[in-house]
Symmetry: C2
Subunit: 310 residues, 2 copies
DNA sequence: TCAATCTATTTGTCCAGGACAATTAATGAA
DNA sequence: TTCATTAATTGTCCTGGACAAATAGATTGA
């Protein structure tokens, strides 16, 4: 059932490696003629590595908003060209050019140098500016560098580990058990990107909130239970661009329904930025940190009286 | 296509929430008559929450080695009884009974108290004993407490966040860029449990190895690239009990094949303990930390000469 | 009695190909 | 141009059948 020698993968292996579901892989095959896997002696699909690489690249581009029919039958060169072309020219230039230095450290495989660099920036700017002015554009830049092949995925992993370590450390030091509101942070299953979450937690902690982080990929049921157990005032979710757009609102609706009415639902992350529809009053979309801070301030002043009563 | 109101979930939602694949959900339905989802107006399966809870419990028990046919048609009471019965009476009693204290902190929703407790233990025992004598049985205990419903999943999340934070911190302080061997640590896709990885990294760092952590769920292709880029001497993978047994060896074989022959492959974690078969010379299984340390010592003495030559 | 080999059952994964709603693109009217 | 309607695209779901790998049970030999 599995890839016997080297150089071919089973359909479930490809699903795991590319993030494209088995159904999608099979449909593309009949609809577009790509991928066109070999068959093993059992008649089961066996994908050559070259095709898997190509699928990975296509997935990248799709996460950036392109459509499969455009991509699937394009030549390899055109595909790479598209990846390059889709780079957003980043207007914002960092003072000191942290971006270049970061990329440099990553390419030289120097994680401790990277950690040092980031720590220095954090100390120089303070948490909030660091997160907003340095980390946010930096994440962007890293993501794009990866998307057009300038950086390999493991270098991105190293980056994200470094940032996570730094932020966790910072949050732990700021954490105040008595803080308000009590914010529960996590992502839904299928959403693995926890970086935004940590950035949020850092800024919120700084402003006096008490953050409970559940890490990534928490099933809805568990979120509901956790919110109750921790007596959370707010449940904050993060959605990256990779999260399927059309699932965001339904998921929020469902969560909203299952949570106690007193608990607010905040949704942040780049995935929310593209949502134009239904600014429901049941929950709040906050594509950037600023808006989250506005919400925080609103919450804190709205609950001031109550705090005095207690 | 999605759960309209509350109280029912689509098949893909259930897949996400329980970890049981769509294929399995459908097969169980025809084979065992459970689950028996409703149908929405489109004829698509709609799983009531009660059934999802039951599936979750069944999955828990299966991860502990039971078989579905035994479980699926059992009454709810029997299922719970089974969960309780399957607890391994933990012979090892910790001095000071850290276990009880930890459970207590978790139940009282006191993460900072927990962190303090763990930190104190770490300082008292030193890293290696802390990891081996405290953390390992503690993980066990927490896992079991969760499996029989004494602890909810979010409490487990809180525990794991606390431990991770502590370990990351420790590792960062020990990290020596010049250390040998250079060990790349990660898990394969589908394996989310990164705790063992961190424990390993802590102990290895202490013994002078240089650890590069990629976090969890790295596709094989990326592991191969990362190993090359970081000039890793060893790739260490971790498998929990939840990882499908039968996939472990093929996955290791594949990785072995795609990696440079010089690079060693180490596989650790509870998931390996049950593997009796094929002690291949191509890679090493190390169900506990002790064996990993043996391997480390072996590596270091085998490469001593070489180090002197360089 | 215990261990090892063989057989039967269980179980997860895969396949084909059809259906359909939701999304996105294209078209025409105001 | 802008909005609304129609057409194409695309992901997900469905059924029901096939099969190998894993496991349990039975049988045999020491």
């Amino acid at each position: 059932m599995n890839e016997t020698l080297n150089s071919v993968l089973s359909i479930s292996a490809v699903e795991r490696e590319t993030g494209l579901s088995k159904d999608v892989l099979r449909k593309w095959e009949t609809r577009y003629g790509f991928p066109s896997p070999l068959r093993d002696n059992l008649g089961e699909r066996a994908y050559p590595l070259a095709q898997v690489d190509r699928l990975r690249l296509i997935k990248r581009l799709m996460d950036m908003g392109m459509r499969p029919s455009r991509l699937v039958n394009e030549s390899d060169e055109n595909l790479n060209a598209l990846a390059l072309a889709s780079q957003t020219p980043q207007a914002k230039v960092n003072d000191g050019d942290v971006e270049k230095l970061t990329l440099d450290k990553l390419r030289r495989q120097d994680p401790s140098g990277l950690r040092q660099l980031l720590y220095r920036e954090l100390m120089r700017q303070g948490i909030q500016r660091f997160v907003q002015d340095t980390l946010t554009p930096l994440n962007h830049a890293i993501g794009e560098a990866w998307a057009c092949g300038e950086l390999s995925i493991h270098e991105e992993h190293v980056y994200s580990e470094a940032v996570q370590g730094l932020l966790r450390d910072t949050i732990a030091k700021l954490s105040d058990y008595q803080g308000t509101p009590r914010v529960l942070l996590t992502t839904l299953p299928d959403e693995q990107h926890g970086l935004g979450l940590l950035m949020l937690a850092a800024v919120l902690s700084l402003r006096g909130a008490y953050c409970i982080s559940l890490g990534t990929q928490t099933p809805v049921q568990d979120i509901v239970e956790a919110a109750e157990a921790h007596r959370a005032d707010v449940v904050a979710l993060s959605f990256s661009n990779a999260y399927p757009q059309r699932r965001i609102l339904p998921a929020l609706e469902e969560l909203r329904q299952r949570l106690d009415g007193e608990v607010e639902v905040w949704a942040g992350g780049a995935g929310c930025a593209r949502l134009h529809s239904a600014p429901s009053t049941n929950f709040q979309l906050m594509p950037d940190i600023d808006q989250t801070l506005v919400a925080l301030t609103r919450w804190q002043s709205a609950h001031q009286d109550q705090a005095e009563v207690n």
